[in-house]
Amino acid sequence: MTDRRRRGSGSGPRTPRRGPGELEAAVLGLLWASDAPATATWVQQRIGDDLAYSTVVTIMSRLYDKGLLTRSRHGRSYAYQPVSDEAGLAARRMRQVLDREDDRAAVLASFVSDLSDEDERTLRELLRREARDPEDGRGG
C-alpha cells in the first residue's frame, strides 16, 4: 500500500492521490474492457497516471492472489484475465460441495490427502534432504 502510494504520487505530482482499492478497480476495469489476456505492460500504457511498471505488476499480482484474475505465461511475464462472474460463482459452488464433504478424499480423487503432524515433519525432512543432495534422488 505505502509503496504504491509513494510511487504513484512521486512519479506524477499533478495526479491526485488515489484511495486504496482505486487502482485495483482501474486495472480490473481495463482488463474487463480488453478482449484478450493483458500483460502488465499493456495495462501500464493505458491506465494513465504514469504509474511505474512495478506498481502495475504489484497491483495485478495482488488481484491474482485475491482470485480476481487468472494468469497465463506470456513470454517472460504473465498475461492476466479477469475472472468472470461465472467462474467466481462456480468456485463458490464448488467450495460448498467440498466443505460439505468432511471426507472429500474418499469421494474425489484429490491430488493430495491431508497430512498429519508426523507426515508434515517427514515430508519437510524428505524435501530438505533432497534439496541438499539433489543427485541422490534422481531416478530413471
Binding site: 459452488r93 491430488f111 490427502s113
Partner: protein, 315 residues
C-alpha cells in the same frame, strides 16, 4: 454345502499380506489391478454366501414368504450352525445393502453437485480453473471429464510442477480410477475384512497417477516436488466446528503423501511381477489361492443349496 458356505466370509483374510506388501513392492499399476480384482471377487463371494445363509435363515422365521419346505430339518442340517448364523446373516446382509447404498448415493451426489458447480464454465482443454485461494485439485469424471484446480493450488506450484499436477489428474481420468475406487469402496462396505485393501488401493491409484505424471513431464523430482508442495500448502489448521477436516482422510493411510514423495524421489518402479519366492510373491500366491478357494466354496454352496431347496420344495 456344509462349512463351505462360511469360508468366503473369512477368506478375505488371505488378502491382507498382499495388501500390505503390494503397495511398496509392485508397480502401482500392477498392484492396483491385482488388489482390485482380489477385493471385488472376495467381496462378491462373501456377499453371495451371506445371501445363501440368509435364505436358509429366513425360512425359519415365522411368517416368511418362502416355501415351508425350506425350513425343513433336512435343509437346516445341511448348513451347520444355521440357527445362529442364519439370523446373523439377515442382519449382516441388511447392513451390507445399506452400506453399499450409502457409498453409491454419496458418490453420485458429490459428482453431480461438483459437475453442477462448474456447469457453464468454458471447457479449457479439460481443465476448470476456479478462482479460490484455498488450494485444491481433483479429477472429476463424467461425460466431459475435467481436471478441477483452484488458483490457490496453481499459485503454490511453478510451471513444471503445474504440468505434473495436471498430468496426475488426467491419469486418474484416463485410467478411470474413479471406477476402481468406487468398486473397492463397495467391496470394503460389503466385507469389513477388505478395508485394508481399500486403503492400499487408494494409495496405489495415487502412485499410479504419480508415475504417469512423472513420465508425462519427464522428471520424477518435479513431480515429487509438486506433490510435496501441494500437500504442505493444503495443510490447514483445524477449523472450529469442522473437526473432520483436520483429521487425515479415512480413505488414506497416515503417511500417504510422504510415501508418494519418497517413491518419486527413488527409482522408477519395476513393472515385472514379483518373483514367486519373494515375500510379495508369496503373499500374492496366498491371496490368489484364498480368492480361488473363496470362488469354489461360494459356487459349491450355491449349487448345493439350489439342489437341496429344489428337493425340499418338491416334497
Amino acid at each position: 454345502m456344509r462349512l463351505a458356505v462360511y469360508l468366503p466370509l473369512i477368506l478375505p483374510l488371505t488378502a491382507l499380506p498382499v495388501a500390505r506388501l503390494a503397495s511398496d513392492h509392485l508397480h502401482p499399476r500392477t498392484a492396483t489391478r491385482l488388489l482390485t480384482a482380489v477385493a471385488v471377487v472376495l467381496a462378491a463371494c462373501s456377499t453371495l454366501c451371506l445371501a445363501l445363509l440368509m435364505v436358509v435363515g429366513t425360512a425359519q422365521v415365522p411368517g416368511n414368504p418362502l416355501p415351508d419346505g425350506w425350513a425343513d430339518p433336512e435343509v437346516r442340517d445341511e448348513v451347520p450352525l444355521v440357527r445362529v448364523s442364519g439370523s446373523i446373516a439377515i442382519a449382516g446382509l441388511l447392513v451390507v445393502l445399506v452400506a453399499a447404498a450409502v457409498v453409491l448415493r454419496r458418490a453420485a451426489r458429490v459428482r453431480r453437485d461438483a459437475l453442477k458447480a462448474i456447469d457453464g464454465l468454458p471447457d479449457d482443454g479439460g481443465v476448470a480453473v476456479l478462482p479460490d485461494a484455498e488450494p485444491y485439485a481433483f479429477a472429476l469424471p463424467g461425460r466431459r471429464p475435467r481436471v478441477v484446480v483452484s488458483t490457490g493450488m496453481l499459485a503454490c506450484l511453478d510451471a513444471r510442477e503445474r504440468r505434473a499436477l495436471i498430468a496426475h489428474e488426467r491419469a486418474h481420468l484416463a485410467r478411470r480410477h474413479d471406477r476402481v475406487l468406487l468398486l473397492v469402496r463397495l467391496a470394503a462396505a460389503s466385507q469389513p475384512l477388505l478395508r485394508p485393501l481399500r486403503t492400499a488401493i487408494s494409495y496405489t491409484v495415487e502412485r499410479w497417477a504419480d508415475e504417469e505424471a512423472a513420465e508425462a513431464v519427464g522428471d520424477r523430482r518435479t513431480t515429487a516436488h509438486a506433490v510435496g508442495k501441494a500437500a504442505l500448502a493444503t495443510r490447514r489448521p483445524a477449523r472450529p466446528g469442522l473437526p473432520a477436516f483436520a483429521a487425515p482422510a479415512s480413505g488414506s493411510t497416515p503417511g500417504q503423501v510422504p510415501r508418494r514423495v519418497a517413491a518419486l524421489l527413488g527409482p522408477t518402479p519395476d513393472t515385472a511381477w514379483p518373483a514367486p519366492r519373494s515375500r510379495t510373491g508369496l503373499a500374492a500366491i496366498v491371496a490368489a489361492a484364498g480368492t480361488t478357494v473363496s470362488v469354489v466354496s461360494a459356487l459349491n454352496a450355491t449349487v448345493a443349496l439350489f439342489v437341496i431347496l429344489k428337493a425340499a420344495t418338491a416334497l
